[in-house]
Symmetry: none
Subunit: 231 residues, 2 copies
């Protein structure tokens, strides 16, 4: 689903900006608002394909936003965002239908992946599928399974997200800062060294099964997932 239209609803401007930049870069058309009232108004007029909706808004809960929309016969799938330990917003029954749910802090690429998953499920057109295959590696995003030349390897959640990010940008060097911004949660305040560690973990699992060195280091620049001619 290219050029899907996303409405972001969050009262924290930081989060809105982060999401807006990330989703625009990922090819979405983005609207963003800070209150539930605005959300209902914009959703009614613009009819976006999906909502990214904070559960805790200043004027009303994200839950009541979806209720209002549904009472207006407007059915838009929702990716809910909520603070991790905020027990107050733990409303069950939130993810009915094709909806999904993530806790803050999130990583921007995880948000993008979830949006794609929701659109796959709700817009039954198999235009985009859950398989991401680049060169010798195939990722089944529904099952969270990774295959190197047909052999499955077990990755931790962070290893998985890092590999998915690199494979989404093949033959393009990604700096460690870019990787941190996309793969790690937005409040992570560690050092770049952790990227080196995780690249090392990935190589240890991938290289024994691959013909080529798929994750290349560009010294002083970053890392790159490479593809090769004739496989």
């Amino acid at each position: 689903m290219k050029n899907a239209r996303v409405l972001i609803v969050d009262d924290e401007k930081n989060i809105r900006d982060l999401l807006e930049a990330g989703l625009k870069f990922a090819g979405f058309s983005v609207y963003s608002v800070g209150t539930g009232t605005e959300a209902v108004a914009v959703a009614e007029k613009a009819k976006p394909d999906i909502l990214v909706l904070d559960v805790m808004l200043p004027d009303q809960s994200g839950f009541s936003v979806t209720k209002k929309l549904r009472s207006m016969e407007i059915y838009i799938p929702v990716l809910f965002l909520s603070a991790r330990d905020d027990g107050a917003d733990k409303v069950t029954g939130l993810t009915v239908g094709g909806d999904d749910y993530m806790t803050k802090p999130f990583s921007i690429d995880e948000v993008i992946a979830r949006i794609h998953a929701i659109l796959r499920r709700t817009q039954k057109q198999e235009a985009e599928d859950s398989i991401l295959e680049v060169g010798e590696i195939k990722i089944n995003q529904d099952a969270h399974e990774v295959y190197v030349n047909g052999t499955e390897i077990e990755l931790s959640p962070t290893e998985y997200k890092l590999l998915r990010f690199l494979m989404s940008n093949p033959n393009r060097v990604m700096s460690k800062d870019q990787i941190l911004d996309h793969v790690w949660e937005y409040d992570f305040n560690g050092e770049q060294g952790i990227v080196e560690s995780y690249v090392s973990y990935l190589r240890k699992k991938i290289d024994p099964l691959s013909k080529n060195s798929l994750i290349q280091t560009k010294r002083g620049v970053g890392y790159m997932f490479r593809t090769f001619k004739e496989d």
Copy 2:
């Protein structure tokens, strides 16, 4: 029965919205109203395939709604909803023919399962639908019987619903939040730990009879019902 048309009748807007979203995603065309009078009017005009009907309505009882419809020669099967303490026995007298009833609070996937069951009984087509078979496990949804490689196992109601949900989404990781929202009643207020407990119960009953580990843990992500090639 794809694209069956459902009329929801409930005075609580929350419940209507919950049902509406869930049933639409499950592939039904949905109408919804809040009173018995509207229900009769819409049912007469739209002739839905099934009614989901709250027993306690503000203007009249669900019973009188069905009576009115039958006096108008309109026969539509009904799934009654009643509050737990309203005396469920009163409802049993209401169910004639293919009707069914359930008590609030319900789980959304259970409602969908009951609707499918009623439609199977009343529209005699595709009776095979009641068998859900994925890999080594077969569920007879009419009889509530579960077989692992041909051997029947006894499951509690919650174990059954959890297994059915996982099997309805094979090879797709489902998060604990999603599982809670679909399998547990909508007012459930507990923690994710209960999902772990029930997965443990299920495994204890399934694993001794199955060749593969059918319910897989994706650490940090959720659980998945897996199928295997050449089984």
